[in-house]
């Protein structure tokens, strides 16, 4: 491996992704989105607008929803990151993904990982959201296929099931 000037200006950045400790060598201003997709092969987060408008690159960083196209890699140092690939584990997110399937909440699929992460973030904070709260929780995630209604229905369905399961 050559030690070029490029490598020297890169930094070692460590964080956990989906529960696994990772250390990457990246330029500090590389977008977290690119580090995850290109270095770690986690292609669930998509690039849509690249300017924080569309939500297709959403992920959870220390439990909060962020647009990974707006996060410089250095700011992920020490963070705990969850991408769509890592969301499978909990029962709640299983129900959410099943509800997306049942209700037709996914079509072309580009927005779906972000939609599910935004929905999961919403349900973690507010397990029984009203329709208005669902709309607000997803307002930063754009979909050009569904017209949104199926997505809202999927989240309401998942929330209903969670309520039923916990009562």
């Amino acid at each position: 491996m050559s030690s070029s000037g490029e490598d020297r200006s890169k930094s070692e950045i460590s964080f956990t992704v989906n529960g696994e400790q990772k250390t990457v060598l990246a330029f500090p201003m590389e977008r977290l989105l690119d580090v995850l997709r290109l270095q770690l092969g986690l292609t669930g987060a998509k690039e849509g607008c690249g300017e924080g408008e569309c939500g297709s690159c959403s992920l959870l960083m220390d439990g909060t929803l962020v647009n990974s196209c707006l996060v410089p890699a250095l700011q992920a140092q020490g963070a705990s990151i969850v991408t769509i690939e890592g969301l499978d584990a909990s029962a709640g997110s299983q129900r959410l993904q099943e509800a997306f399937l049942e209700c037709g909440g996914a079509q072309c699929g580009i927005c779906t990982p972000g939609m599910i992460l935004a929905a999961s973030h919403l349900l973690n904070k507010n397990p029984r959201p009203t329709l208005e709260e669902i709309k607000e929780g997803l307002s930063g995630n754009l979909c050009r296929c569904t017209g949104y209604l199926q997505i809202f229905e999927a989240i309401a369905t998942a929330a209903g099931r969670e309520t039923a399961a916990s009562s």
Binding site: G55, L65, H121
Partner: protein
């Protein structure tokens, strides 16, 4: 054109003291970045004014919200989510809570900071009219020490502020003296989330019967800087609210603003909406006086 990360430096000093120390060593050279919701957008477009950035994201000293007897001191690094979730802010400064709710979507609210919104100095920023209406003050910090100044007047011109090149905003202070005031905040835009306002307003006031005792009206997106409608306020104080006063206030408000035509709206529409928002607020104030 998109920026190449290898051309940019980013350091994370880890404390407020170290960050201002770095700024002091070469003032103007380092661009502070907090949650990146503005800076990373400019970076993506290849429009950043600097190739050296200093991360101030998550510095504990900038994240606190102190509730003091006479004011709330909000760390400049507080996010919109922090603001939305704070009970005292929600009760005593509801227009700031609303503005936080209207800004971006949830992901941007989790990363965007109040200090960043002020320094980014967009005349269309939703939270800034609320700060003006509440008579906010800023605490600025540098290695030279802290200084405190009124937020009104902080914007020296379009995208220009009174922040010195070696300074950061440390905190935003909100005086706790508006309980019992009628508050009215409106965002007029294509949609609430992810859309920049065509016009936004934050206004508060107090009436005795129908007489205006005190009134603050601040507007955004209608001038090179967020604006207090000082002449309209002066004209309104001590007057009885009636139809002719409302009509005079609308005219005066329109005369005070400097709206432009741009991709989001037209000067004509912005002027009409500003007048209507002022009228809507005065009608609410009047209704409160009758209640």
């Amino acid at each position: 054109m998109r920026s190449d990360p290898k051309d940019y430096e980013l350091v994370a000093p880890g404390s407020l003291q170290a960050a201002v120390g770095l700024l002091a060593r070469s003032p103007g050279e380092w661009l502070p970045i907090a949650g990146g919701t503005d800076v990373m957008v400019q970076y993506a477009a290849g429009k950043l004014p600097s190739r050296k950035l200093v991360s101030i994201w998550n510095l504990a000293e900038l994240r606190s919200i102190e509730v003091l007897a006479n004011e709330i001191r909000l760390g400049a690094g507080c996010t919109y989510t922090n603001i939305r979730e704070h009970g005292v802010i929600g009760r005593e400064f509801p227009m700031l809570s609303s503005a936080a709710r209207w800004t971006g979507g949830i992901a941007n609210q989790n990363r965007g900071t109040l200090g960043g919104n002020i320094v980014n100095a967009s005349p269309a920023a939703d939270s800034l009219p609320a700060l003006l209406a509440y008579d906010a003050e800023l605490i600025l910090i540098s290695v030279r020490g802290e200084r405190r100044l009124p937020y009104a007047g902080f914007h020296a011109g379009y995208k220009k502020t009174k922040l010195a090149p070696d300074e950061l905003i440390r905190a935003v202070c909100l005086p706790r003296r508006f309980s019992g005031y009628v508050c009215h905040a409106r965002k007029v835009g294509s949609r609430n989330a992810q859309a920049i306002s065509k016009v936004c307003m934050a206004a508060l006031g107090r009436v005795a019967g129908q007489t205006v005792e005190d009134v603050h009206i601040a507007v955004g997106s209608v001038a090179p800087v967020p604006l207090r409608l000082s002449e309209t306020e002066l004209m309104l104080r001590g007057k009885v609210i009636n139809e002719s006063l409302v009509s005079a206030a609308k005219k005066m408000a329109v005369a005070e603003i400097r709206p432009i035509d741009d991709i989001r709206s037209t000067a004509k529409y912005r002027a009409a909406v500003t007048g209507n928002l002022v009228a809507e607020f005065l009608n609410l104030l009047s209704a409160d006086g009758k209640a």
